[in-house]
């Protein structure tokens, strides 16, 4: 549990056993090859206290025995003033206290008070119940807490509905329980607090479902007279207030001035050495070496990180190692153990290590947690399971085996080390992949810049329609609901849609209700738009704990013959069926030494512009378009080398057509000509179907499209697999122009391409840095910069000199507007200089030829 008690470690002066400065010298001789690429010190933060009695009734304050951290006090004051709050502070900053104390305070005034706590997962729910019960017990308030989800038996459910002050559930469960709201009448009538925990995790498609489910919940509560306030807790994100509002539909006061203390932290960027420098014993790379580690001669992070971790643990720095998969944690322990047993190395002796992941079962996990807390374990290799929530006791170090995908997770994981004001030693070991390399080259990205923005977008109409149907089934929907349900115009359209299809009846004036007897809630899948989710089954198994997947993902990654890695296990897809009422894919366990990758060929048509803006001579557009993605073929690749074993295999899936949101850039014709001419000599011999003189230019815009998608997670919380792109020399609406698209890979859109449109310059700037700074030094890029394994054209052509020329023209031409649709008055013939792309920005004399008015 997070504790506000000042840390006695500091008082006792028992400092960390190994500091960042000592790390290199302490590393075993012959193993240190200058891996420390960078080292940063994050100074300690003094705690800010507020006497509990200032914000809590004396009765509670006296029992609490400790003072509050300032952000907790600030949040409680805001709640008292009737505001909603979004608490966005560091790991272990006592966010649970905020709502725990608020509930206790409300309970003293009214013992009938009810609160709804929504957690992302079932596992977290039970941990949190324990923590809350402990707090309430300590405070001497008789607040009852119940976990209500699929694992709760019917009798307990009924008791919880009737009696529990605090009901803990998850979003998918809430979607279902809203249907039976009459059984919750008393709960809804007295519901005064809704808590959304880990709010930052609700983004993309599941975020938009969560947002509608929370709106439906509020509507039902209001019907019975409830008027809940919201508490959202979130890791650090760039837009906590906006995100809270998007999720709940209500404004929230942002509490982000962290009053909890932290010790001095040293962060090391530890770059795996090249294989030439690697010790001979690491030749066995084995499992876990996917494409991320496929690089020209660099030691994989999956080998290097466990050794560094073992070294820390052996040096009395008890540490966590964060891995990407369950199996990865097991392998890491094996590798670390091997390392510790190597006779030639000094790091020997009694070092207790364990793996921790959700595959371990509750009892085994409890045991590991206990051993970690009481200090009998020196190190734990874990998945994201230990990123949040669970008490990890006194941990001095943390090692990241690869970048976790977002800055929030990066800090959340590292934040598990150095409890209270204790010092901590942290290390980031990058894999050979785009994001990891980018962060290695640009540490300021994690250290300074603005955190990613969480995207919850409500514009997706297929998802909206589903929730309108659910809402009408729960209670008649009327005009008064319009503000919460998309505004009157959109709601009218949705209602008319439903009336015409026969799903809805009535009008907004009188009340619209659902016309069928089935439960539209059943059709909602948090992971798909529009209810066409595929069940994932395991052959011969009663049940298989895998969330349903959307059609796009099924076609792409779960076609027949595809290998699937799930929670560290390997499966193959036996069957993909969608002719029945419930589409599904069936997997079987396999042990093969290859993985599969489908290749995507995309065409885009029927574009419809919703907004346009000029950037220099470029026109940027956003809107809707019809995207046809064909995943016709797939290849088998060797697990250890990544080499293609077999290509051109048939997936058997039909083309996937979706109407979705996209953004695209139109390249000014003069620039296109100039860059084409300047790079006409570049030839990619594998691209026979493309006219040779276009290889350079098309390779350029193709590279921009890849790189932009690769860096988008630096700006937005997005899984790059949810984005797609296309570079073309014939735009659908203007065949005389070339350009590149980025689209949302879900029917109806996700709002990502719209945000990219808004931040187009920032994203292209990062894309440029990615290609220019990559250590590969190759014009056609490498897997860590320009290459995308899904590329339907097999990453050909890609040509970064042309790409940077186009990007520079985009970024530098901002002040030079061009008349709409005008061709440039003339083309500057002196465009040849763009083929010489400098590494640094000597940009002034590289004015692109199209910047002409």
């Amino acid at each position: 549990m997070n504790s506000n008690v000042p840390d006695d470690d500091v008082i006792s002066g028992d400092g960390i056993a190994l500091s960042g400065e000592e790390l290199a010298a302490s590393y075993p001789a012959g193993r240190y090859h200058g891996q420390i690429r960078d080292q940063f010190t994050i100074p300690e933060r003094e705690p800010q206290y507020v006497p509990a009695v200032e914000v809590l009734p004396a009765e509670l304050a006296s029992r609490l025995e400790v003072d509050l951290w300032s952000h907790q006090a600030e949040a409680l004051s805001a709640l008292r003033a009737g505001e909603n709050v979004c608490v966005s502070t560091s790991t272990s900053s006592g966010k649970t206290y905020v709502y725990g104390l608020e509930i206790a305070r409300q309970y003293l005034e009214d013992p009938d008070v009810r609160a709804l706590l929504v957690y992302p997962t079932k596992a977290l729910s039970r941990d949190q119940r324990g923590e809350l019960e402990e707090l309430f017990g300590h405070l001497g308030v008789d607040v009852s807490v119940g976990v209500y989800d699929g694992d709760t038996d019917p009798e307990t459910k009924s008791r919880i509905r009737e009696e529990s002050n605090v009901v803990i559930t998850n979003v998918a469960g809430l979607n279902q329980y809203l249907e039976g709201h009459h059984r919750w009448a008393a709960f809804h009538a007295n519901c005064s607090l809704v808590v959304v925990d880990e709010a930052h995790s609700w983004t993309g498609i599941s975020g938009m479902h969560a947002a509608w489910i929370l709106r439906r919940a509020r509507r039902v509560a209001e019907w019975y007279g409830g008027d809940p306030q919201y508490v959202l807790t979130s890791a650090t994100i760039g837009n906590p207030g906006e995100h809270a509002r998007a999720l709940t539909g209500e404004p929230a006061t942002v509490i982000d001035d962290d009053g909890s203390p932290s010790g001095r932290r040293q962060l090391v960027f530890w770059e795996p050495p090249s294989n030439d420098e690697s010790p001979a014993d690491s030749a066995d790379l084995g499992e876990g070496r996917g494409r991320d580690d496929r690089s020209a001669g660099t030691r994989p992070a999956t080998v290097e990180a466990p050794e560094l971790w073992a070294h820390l643990c052996a040096s009395d720095v008890s540490s966590l190692l964060f891995c990407g998969s369950r199996k990865g944690t097991e392998l890491a322990v094996d590798r670390a153990t091997d390392y510790l047993e190597t006779p030639s190395l000094p790091d020997r002796g009694d070092v207790e290590l364990a793996a921790y992941n959700a595959g371990h079962g509750a009892r085994s996990r409890r045991e590991t947690e206990t051993r970690l807390a009481d200090g009998t374990l020196d190190g734990v290799a874990t998945t994201s399971a230990l990123e949040v929530g669970i008490d990890v006791g006194r941990i001095d170090g943390a090692v990241l085996q690869g970048h976790p995908g977002s800055r929030a997770s990066f800090w959340q994981r590292l934040g598990r080390a150095g409890r209270g004001r204790r010092e901590a030693l942290l290390a980031f070991v990058p894999r050979y992949s785009t994001l990891d390399r980018y962060v290695l080259e640009h540490p300021e990205y994690v250290l300074e810049g603005e955190p990613e923005r969480a995207v919850v977008d409500l514009e997706n109409n297929p998802v909206y329609l589903q929730h309108v149907r659910c809402a009408t089934q729960e209670l008649p929907l009327s005009r008064e609901d319009a503000d919460r349900f998309g505004g009157i115009e959109r709601l009218r359209q949705a209602v008319e849609y439903g009336r015409r299809t026969g799903d809805l009846e009535g009008t907004l004036a009188g009340g619209v209700s659902y016309a069928h007897r089935d439960r539209p809630q059943d059709a909602v899948s948090l992971y798909a738009a529009g209810g066409n989710a595929f069940d994932v089954r395991l052959a011969g198994a009663e049940s298989f704990d895998h969330e349903p997947i959307g059609r796009a993902r099924a076609y792409r990654d779960y076609h027949e013959g595809a290998t699937v890695r799930y929670r560290g296990e390997q499966y193959q897809v036996r069957e993909l069926r969608e002719d029945g009422p419930q589409p599904y894919v069936e997997l079987e366990s396999v042990d093969v030494d290859y993985y599969t990758q489908s290749q995507r060929q995309v065409s885009i048509y029927d574009t419809e512009i919703r907004d346009s803006r000029r950037v220099g001579a470029f026109r940027l557009n956003r809107g809707y378009g019809t995207v046809t993605a064909r995943y016709n073929k797939y290849a088998k690749r060797d697990v250890s080398t990544g080499e293609t074993i077999e290509a051109g295999l048939e997936t058997g899936v039909s083309p996937l057509e979706m109407r979705t949101e996209l953004c695209w850039a139109e390249v000014p014709p003069a620039l296109e000509r100039a860059v084409t001419d300047a790079h006409a000599d570049y030839l990619d011999e594998d691209c026979e179907e493309i006219p040779p003189h276009l290889h350079g230019y098309l390779g350029g815009i193709h590279a921009i499209e890849h790189a932009m998608i690769a860096v988008t997670p630096l700006e937005l919380t997005v899984d790059p697999a949810d984005l797609g792109g296309l570079a073309t020399n014939r735009l659908p609406d203007r065949p005389d122009r070339s350009g590149w698209f980025i689209y949302d890979g879900v029917d109806g859109g996700l709002g990502f391409s719209r945000r990219i449109y808004e931040r187009f310059e920032d994203v292209t700037r990062r894309a440029r840095a990615l290609m220019v700074d990559c250590g590969c030094g190759r014009d056609d890029g490498c897997p860590a910069c320009l290459m995308d394994p899904r590329c339907g054209n097999d990453n050909k052509p890609l040509y970064s000199p042309a790409a940077t020329a186009v990007i520079d023209a985009l970024l530098e031409g901002e002040d030079e507007p061009v008349h709409e649709d005008d061709e440039p008055a003339h083309v500057d013939g002196e465009s040849a200089h763009v083929d010489d792309v400098p590494d640094d920005g000597d940009r002034d004399d590289r004015r692109p030829p199209a910047s002409v008015s």
Binding site: A494, V495, Y497, R499, R500, A509, R517
Partner: protein, 523 residues
């Protein structure tokens, strides 16, 4: 009193794939249609020809060249057009201009979920047809389920035109598909009842699917009567039928063939010592926004009371609920209410409406009013097997011999609900939802009184008839309840198998066993 109308049974071949000749005859006898229409979706010539052989009347099935056929039943003309082109080229295709009903499966929706748009293919053609028709035609298509009831509109030069469209397809429900029987009324009103496709012939028996039916027939049990007369031991000797299945088959055969309730337990229907009040609520749909009519029958006082809000409004949808609970609290201290499927509908919505619109009675409702649901007791809790092809109240009551008055029969809950909804919608001709969808003439001619216009277009609610319908429902419920309470408790299972079943009396209602049951019930 209106004319009876034409009964059309819409059949899907896929649902009847396993139906044999006797089952088809049974189905047709039960549904008793004037016309049989075979849906295009999943059409199968073999099934269609079986239907033709089994039905002594017009069967309209797809196949051959596109033609147009007209059937006239009880003064209603129904045109079946195999393609929309036939309607377009009316003159050459010999399509009558003023049909009451036009069935055409080319009328199908195209939807765009991203743009939130739905269009109807063929809309222009039927608008032309409607414009030239002297009376209002109702259009029907199998592209929608039979529950579909939407009035499309189309702007023409001379004003907008109303295009009522009904579905004929199977109704979506868990389990087997429900076939639709539509009563096509002379005034354009359509009443839909549905029939589960698998509840005919031997298939009507619980636990009997196509395989078991085949095995029963092979052993000489070719009718339900024969099964009802068989002993459990005989049935058990058939491969694949175990003890409990044999009993279940026999019980359901007896319930159906002897038109009586067959009890499986001797648990009482309602809590000991109570006389329930029978209740039915009429609403504007499955997910009601208003409860305008509540009927209550007290058998002890032999008194029927109803609470009607004949001017239901969206501002106060709880008027009837308030009057009802007000009366209830004044009259009964600890009432027990009984409603058919009340746990899933009536009680659920009454409770919600009391909570919202009569909050002063919320405590009375939760603390003092208890409820029973005879349907739940019999079916979900497995206490009894009911006669009737379905377990819907009207089916059970009909099987038990309750006849309802003809004018009460002409209304049903769903029709009532639709009319209430349209009544609520009517003053909102300015609502764009409405003008787009219904294209009521008043939308284009604001000077006309919306209400007047509505009268021209929509059948008005006949509140007296609705009340009679509600009363008939409640009285049927009381009768079914009595039949449940009075049915014989099951004999000891041993003695039953020993008795062999065949000689059991159908008329054991008055013997001592029943008395014991009632004593248990009373104590």
């Amino acid at each position: 009193m209106t004319e009876r109308g034409a009964d059309l049974l819409a059949l899907g071949c896929d649902a009847l794939e396993y139906a044999d000749e006797p089952a088809l005859c049974d189905l047709l006898e039960y549904a008793d249609p004037d016309l049989v229409y075979v849906l295009w979706e999943g059409a199968d010539v073999r099934v269609a020809s079986r239907i033709r052989r089994a039905f002594d009347g017009p069967v309209i099935a797809p196949g051959g060249s596109a033609t147009c056929r007209t059937e006239t039943v009880a003064g209603n003309s129904v045109v079946f057009a195999d393609s929309i082109e036939l309607l377009e080229n009316r003159a050459s295709a010999d399509v009558p201009p003023d049909a009451d009903y036009v069935v055409c499966e080319d009328l199908a929706p195209t939807t765009d979920r991203v743009a939130l748009e739905v269009e109807l293919e063929g809309l222009g053609t039927i608008a032309d047809y409607q414009r030239e028709s002297a009376t209002e035609t109702v259009f029907c298509t199998g592209s929608f389920p039979a529950s579909y009831d939407h009035v499309w509109g189309r702007e023409l030069e001379e004003g907008s035109v109303r295009l009522p469209l009904r579905g004929l397809g199977p109704i979506r429900r868990s389990g087997a598909a429900e076939l639709a029987r539509l009563r096509l009324g002379a005034d354009g009103s359509v009443t839909v009842s549905s029939v589960p496709a698998d509840r005919f012939g031997l298939g009507a028996l619980s636990g009997v699917g196509p395989t078991t039916a085949e095995r029963l027939r092979n052993r000489g049990y070719d009718s339900r009567r024969a099964v009802a007369d068989a002993s459990v031991a005989d049935l058990r000797s058939i491969r694949g039928i175990g003890e409990s299945t044999a009993s279940a088959i026999q019980r359901s055969a007896r319930a159906l063939e002897q038109s009586r309730v067959v009890r499986r337990t001797d648990d009482p229907v309602s809590p000991v010592g109570c006389d329930p009040l029978f209740v039915d609520v009429e609403t504007d749909g499955l997910h009601p926004t208003v409860i305008p009519l509540i009927g209550v029958f007290d058998p002890n006082r032999r008194k029927y009371v109803d609470f009607v809000d004949s001017d239901p409004s969206r501002t106060d949808p709880g008027t009837a609920t308030r009057a009802f609970v007000d009366w209830l609290a004044a009259t009964y201290d600890e009432p027990v209410l009984a409603a058919w499927n009340g746990y899933e509908f009536d009680f659920l919505h009454l409770e919600r409406f009391v909570a919202r619109y009569a909050p002063e009675y919320r405590e009375y409702w939760t603390e003092h009013v208890s409820t029973v649901d005879p349907y739940d007791w019999a079916i979900r809790r497995d206490n009894a097997v009911l006669p009737g092809r379905t377990n819907r109240l009207e089916d059970v009551a009909r099987a038990l011999g309750c006849e309802r008055a003809a004018d009460a029969e002409a209304v049903d809950g769903r029709t009532f609900a639709t009319r209430v909804r349209r009544l609520l919608e009517a003053p909102d001709a300015d609502d764009p939802c409405r003008s787009a969808g219904k294209s009521n003439r008043s939308a284009d001619e604001p000077s006309r009184c919306a209400d007047e216009t509505r009268l021209e277009c929509e059948p008005r609610i006949d509140w007296e008839r609705a009340r009679r319908y509600c009363e008939a429902d409640v009285r049927e419920l009381a009768a079914v309840y009595d039949a449940l309470a009075e049915a014989d408790p099951p004999a000891d299972s041993d003695s039953r198998s020993a008795a062999g079943g065949a000689g059991e009396s159908e008329d054991e209602r008055t013997d001592a066993t029943t008395q014991t049951g009632l004593t248990d019930f009373d104590s």
